[in-house]
Symmetry: C2
Subunit: 230 residues, 2 copies
């Protein structure tokens, strides 16, 4: 009998979600990976997510189709320009054009539905609010509020069997996340961060996500395996 804990991991294919997946696997859980094809311009990340899920030998990897372009206006889901060459101070101030309204809330809600259906006990999400793009739905207080909402929204919650939202990267910097991942044997060459990759699938090197990635590897003292345009 399989007595491993069944958990869902939200997997975008970036550094944070891949490290979260490695943490869940390292805890000995039976991992069900969940990715979203939501109309993102950088859907190259999904190709990476498929490879990562395979590499980590997940029990299942579901790529859920939900085209958010009809409801959510964002530089990630439209022809708006992705902000480039911003300094870290600029990245750390305000909410940028790449913010997708309510994205993590939607993703967690769908994960919750799946968790209740397959009897998963936990949902892992790689949010962190230190080296991040300033999205409100990455903050720990959002995760706490979602937990309460999840307990009230579900049958298992009503029966006092809470599905727990796990956010293991919450207090870590990007370099600490990378160091953790290296310890766990992640090949970060499998991951994708860039919001605006070139037609040849190279990272732009200039969007907020590339800037944070580059600095993370630099501070971690680890070579960044990414192929950048510049």
């Amino acid at each position: 009998m399989d007595d491993r804990k069944k958990v869902i991991v939200l997997l975008s294919g970036g550094i944070d979600s891949t490290t979260t997946l490695a943490i869940a696997k390292n805890l000995g859980h039976a991992v069900y990976a969940l990715s979203f094809d939501y109309g993102q311009r950088h859907n190259l990340e999904l190709i990476k997510a498929v490879k990562i899920a395979k590499k980590f030998n997940t029990e299942e990897h579901l790529v859920f189709q939900i085209d958010l372009r009809s409801v959510a206006d964002s530089a990630l889901t439209s022809q708006q320009t992705v902000p480039k060459e911003r300094t870290l101070d600029q990245i750390n101030t305000g909410i940028p054009a790449t913010y997708v309204p309510a994205r993590n809330l939607i993703f967690l809600s769908i994960a919750l539905s799946w968790a209740e259906t397959i009897n998963a006990q936990e949902i892992f999400i790689g949010t962190n609010a230190i080296d991040y793009s300033g999205y409100p739905d990455c903050r720990p207080q959002f995760i706490e509020a979602f937990q309460k909402c999840a307990d009230l929204a579900t049958k298992v919650g009503a029966e006092k069997n809470s599905i727990k939202i796990m956010s293991p990267l919450s207090g870590l910097t990007k370099s600490e996340i990378i160091q953790k991942g290296i310890e766990l044997g992640i090949d970060y060459g499998l991951t994708h961060s860039c919001y605006d990759p070139s037609p040849e699938s190279m990272a732009c090197g200039k969007c907020d996500s590339c800037v944070l990635r580059k600095r993370g590897f630099d501070e971690a003292g680890v070579e960044d395996p990414t192929r950048y345009v510049c």
Copy 2:
């Protein structure tokens, strides 16, 4: 200049959501209706929703595609049998097989994303927890928890401009809802409640939703325009 308040109304095509739409229109709001094609077996309700939105002259009616069958197990999204001929006592006890895990949470999250994108100030939902199917995500405490979550999940929330979740039917019985709707001029012949309609689009008369509907009309002293198989 149009100085009406912009609001979203979740519209399934049943009694409750149609009455909620009529209430929002009666308040003088510019109404954006939102329905979900989620793989429900009774998707006849969507045909009704389109007619209702037209009748009420909404600014827009978006039917959002989200196939929940890959994540959510329910008698409404699978070949499981829909419970029939249950007494009111049975309906009022426990959570039935027609419960769709986290459905209202998912729907409200997508509505929130749209609201933030189009600058809507309120989201109307026709939940009530008196004459209902026992779904946990219809209870007022769920709506309150969602409000908190919405404020933390969004850019407008972070800027202290909360998108308000309005649940105007919250304290009403089904017959009070029907009486309210009749006052507002609703033709309930446009609405659909049955979970398991016949191939000829007639209501089964025996599922929980039909039982609650029949009793509501009965208690309201209003003729039920529904065509029932029995």
